[in-house]
């Protein structure tokens, strides 16, 4: 995943990961997985709700979490591509995301 994300950065697109994990939890995940891109913490799911991605009570311990989704946003702040997975275990294939990123000019 890290190599794909480096391709995004080379294409001028900045990957940003968001979840209900706290900054400490995402710092752990980043260092364990060797990710260098930005991780943002949304523990009260405010941004997650604004994007209508709330999955109630589906976290461990029954916490609310985000359903997985990706949004490609251009320099004007407009969504240009999105992926809402139908299966909570499947995320967008990197190749699809990269193809969408290449179209941003």
């Amino acid at each position: 995943m890290q190599e794909t994300l480096q391709s995004f950065e080379a294409a001028g697109v900045r990957p940003v990961a968001i979840s209900v994990d706290s900054p400490d939890q995402s710092r752990d995940l980043r260092s364990k997985a060797g990710y260098t891109f930005t991780f943002l913490a949304d523990p009260d799911a405010g941004a997650i709700r604004r994007y209508d991605l709330l999955d109630r009570g589906q976290g461990i311990d029954g916490h609310d979490v985000a359903r997985p989704a990706e949004f490609l946003i251009d320099r004007t702040g407009t969504v240009r591509w999105r992926n809402l997975t139908g299966d909570y275990r499947v995320r967008a294939r990197p190749a699809e995301m990269l193809a969408a990123a290449e179209k941003l000019r």
Binding site: A11, G12, V13, R14, P15, V16, A17, I18, S19, V20, D21, S22, P23, Q25, S26, R27, L29, R30, T38, F39, A41, D42, A47, R50, Y51, D52, L53, L54, D55, R56, Q58, G59, I60, V65, A66, R67, P68, A69, E70, F71, L72, I73, D74, R75, G77, T78, V79, R80, R82, L84, T85, G86, D87, Y88, R89, V90, R91, M97, A101, R105
Partner: protein
């Protein structure tokens, strides 16, 4: 010497391993998370052993106790398999509809969140600071 029905008990243990290993191990990699083929293979092997174990228990000398135990153990193993298969397939229809998620052409809603160094970062900052744009990756989180 009492003969031990290893097929039956190994089948049960394998069934439990097939179940637990998905959540503990295989769910971490997309290739085995999306379609848990390794776990299904383990379950098939477990079911085969349980069937063989039950058949062995029915062969003379087949005490009633052994027959009952073998059916019981095999049922547990089968139940674990059914629970696993249900969890995997039912997980897909349970996702919220997200009808109001921003669609292509719409403005991405603004937010300000803390990064992993606890510094506040706004979406508008990220967008302005990037040559072509930003890819937001919302993920479930593990905690």
């Amino acid at each position: 010497m009492k003969r031990w029905n290893w097929l039956l008990w190994t089948g049960l243990v394998l069934s439990l391993v097939a179940f637990a290993s998905y959540f503990l191990v295989f769910a971490r990699w997309p290739v085995t998370r999306d379609v848990p083929w390794v776990n299904f293979l383990l379950f098939i092997a477990a079911m085969a052993m349980l069937v063989a174990g039950v058949r062995r228990a029915l062969v003379p000398p087949a005490t009633t106790t052994r027959k009952i135990i073998s059916i019981f153990v095999a049922s547990i193993g089968l139940t674990v398999f059914v629970l696993f298969a249900s969890a995997i397939f039912m997980g897909t229809s349970r996702l919220p509809a997200s009808a109001h998620a921003p669609a292509p052409g719409q403005k991405a809603p603004e937010f300000t969140l803390l990064d992993s160094n606890r510094r506040p970062v706004a979406l508008s900052q990220l967008v302005a600071g990037s040559p072509r744009g930003v890819l937001l990756i919302f993920y479930r989180g593990y905690w």
